[in-house]
Amino acid sequence: MSPVLVGQVLINGLQMGLFYALLAVGFSLIYGVGRIIFCGHGEIYMMGAVLNYFLVMRLGLPYPLAIIIVSLAVGVFGLILDRGLFRRFLGDDFGIFIVSLGLAIIIQQVFLELFGGHPMGISTQIRGTVKLLGMTLSRERLVTSLISVAIIVALHFFFHRVKAGQAMRAVAQDPEAAALYGINKSAILSLTFFLSLALAAAAAGLIAPIFSVSTAMGSRALLNTFIVVTLGGLGSFPGAILGGLLIGILHAVGGLFIGEITYLTAFVIIIVFLVVRPRGFFGHT
């Protein structure tokens, strides 16, 4: 086992972790702000990936433009879901859980019917490789990873420097106190839905060229999101990032050493972890 191979695997893991983190941040946000367990998150991710495939490969749009269009469109879809469906169920946590599951089935079936179940690949115009410390990294992967890092940094800036982001954190921490300070909780929840779903679609668009896309990828993405947010602590931004990176590395390293059983290990770890530390790394009671 050469150090170069290990380094390469670690970098692959970090990369996967970045996308898991983007997904988990959105899921965590929706839960934090609206106490909504949004089980459609995995299917939204699938939706983003498949729509990106459609725009790039079928309609021939340039890849960056496709990502932006799809993210915005999926974000608007989130607004519609929020206003049309989830508003009715606010406060009924278990009801929301079930409704979002029903929604996930609908999205998955509609996309399966429209696009079929076979794997689809997206090719970008980014070619070539970069040599770094003896490791060979494809330029495509490097670019998409850097974009996701940029998104995470931008999110950090948004949550700490921009009024809307601060308001989001305030509502997540204490909805009543936030309302007392004149924060419009309803508008914040809509913004949260827009942002979370757009993030999921962006993550999907960024990962689509690296792994093949299929209409069946949603449920595994949802399970991974569950694991990541539990590790990091629901409602925590740094927790989601850390959890995502950890799970990404675990999958990559485990995939190298013990193969498929890694997935089983991840679930066992999460059970033990929840028993020992139910709030995750950064979750607050």
């Binding site: 409704v99 029903g102 629901l234």
Partner: protein, 333 residues
């Protein structure tokens, strides 16, 4: 003439015995198509799972992974009968005890966790167990299971399984009703309302939650045994996270507030999409739209209509009686 008031209890007894008689004669006279009978048997198995899961949910335990214990029951009975060579009657108690013991340990370890965390934990359990089956016994092929046989009877036909499943379901309903009306049920409800208050009264809430989970695990194991021997083949695809979710969805759509809820939900969501004779795609769309629509208009599930029906039914019977009395012939006498 005074019209006798229909006592609620008597109404209950009459309607339950009417349902029981209906279910007994159902395969003899009413349902002749084997496929419909198959669906009704499946509804029975789902209901055994759903009603017992509901007991845990009366304590607001967000356990959403019924397929875990269902799979343990199904694989347990298959392995004991095929690999170890036990007879059906020997395998059943061993499987039930094994699953309950597992649930007991799992419950003590995890039921301190609440809400969505427990939901995620139970889904992780489902997926972990499913992968265990894949890597050990299953290897992604279907396992053939011999049919159930006891006391010299081989259960082979659909009608026989129908009676077996619905008889077990009847016993399940009676037991769960008794448990719910006992002090255990009262404690479970108090946990749902305010767990720390219950603890401050000296109730060991964790113990009661574990009891609820164990009761559920027992019936889930029974349902798993029925499922495996009825289908005569099992594969890990029957015990996924989605399979779990279907049971939970049925329970919520039927209504968690009533013991009949899971049955109503299972019947509606299993039979309606099939009866319409649509393509699998439209079936799934109708299934999920039904779920969303029911919860949109009736957040408490379908059985939240029951109190209104119960109130209006004796009313209706009385007004019917009044109408008969006021018929012209009678008045003239």
């Amino acid at each position: 003439m005074a019209i006798p008031r229909m006592n609620e209890n008597r109404l209950k007894i009459i309607s339950i015995s009417a349902i029981a008689i209906f279910m007994v004669i159902l395969p003899l006279f009413i349902v002749t198509s084997p496929f419909t009978l198959h669906l009704i048997t499946i509804v029975g198995i789902y209901t055994i799972l759903g009603t017992s899961l509901r007991l845990a949910h009366t304590a607001d335990i967000w356990f959403v992974g019924p397929a875990a214990f269902l799979g343990m029951g199904a694989y347990g009975v298959a392995i004991l009968m095929l690999d170890i060579g036990l007879s059906f009657l020997q395998a059943v108690p061993i499987v039930c005890i094994g699953v309950v013991l597992f649930a007991w340990g799992f419950g003590y370890a995890t039921l301190r966790v609440k809400g969505i965390y427990l939901a995620i934990l139970s889904l992780a359990l489902v997926e972990a167990l499913r992968l265990t089956w894949v890597y050990t016994f299953d290897k992604n092929r279907a396992i053939m299971v011999p049919p159930a046989h006891f006391f010299g009877i081989d259960l082979a036909t659909k009608v026989e399984y129908y009676y077996l499943v619905w008889a077990i379901l009847a016993i399940t309903l009676v037991i769960l009703h008794r448990v719910e009306k006992s002090h255990i049920g009262a404690v479970l409800k108090s946990i749902a309302q305010d767990e720390s208050l219950a603890m401050s009264l000296g109730i060991k809430t964790l113990r009661y939650k574990v009891i609820a989970l164990c009761v559920f695990a027992f019936f889930a194991a029974i349902a798993g045994i029925c499922f495996a021997t009825y289908n005569m083949a099992i594969s890990n695809k029957s015990f996924t996270v989605w399979a779990s979710m279907l049971i939970v969805i049925q329970m919520v759509v039927g209504g968690r507030g009533s013991i009949w809820g899971p049955m109503v939900g299972a019947a509606l969501l299993t039979i309606v999409p099939h009866l319409l004779g649509l393509s699998p795609f439209l079936q799934k769309i109708i299934y999920s739209s039904l779920v969303i629509a029911v919860l949109y208009f009736l957040p408490g599930g379908l059985t939240s209509l029951l109190p209104a029906i119960r109130k209006s039914l004796p009313e209706g019977i009385r007004s019917l009686a009044r109408a008969i009395q006021s018929l012209p012939g009678k008045v003239k006498r």
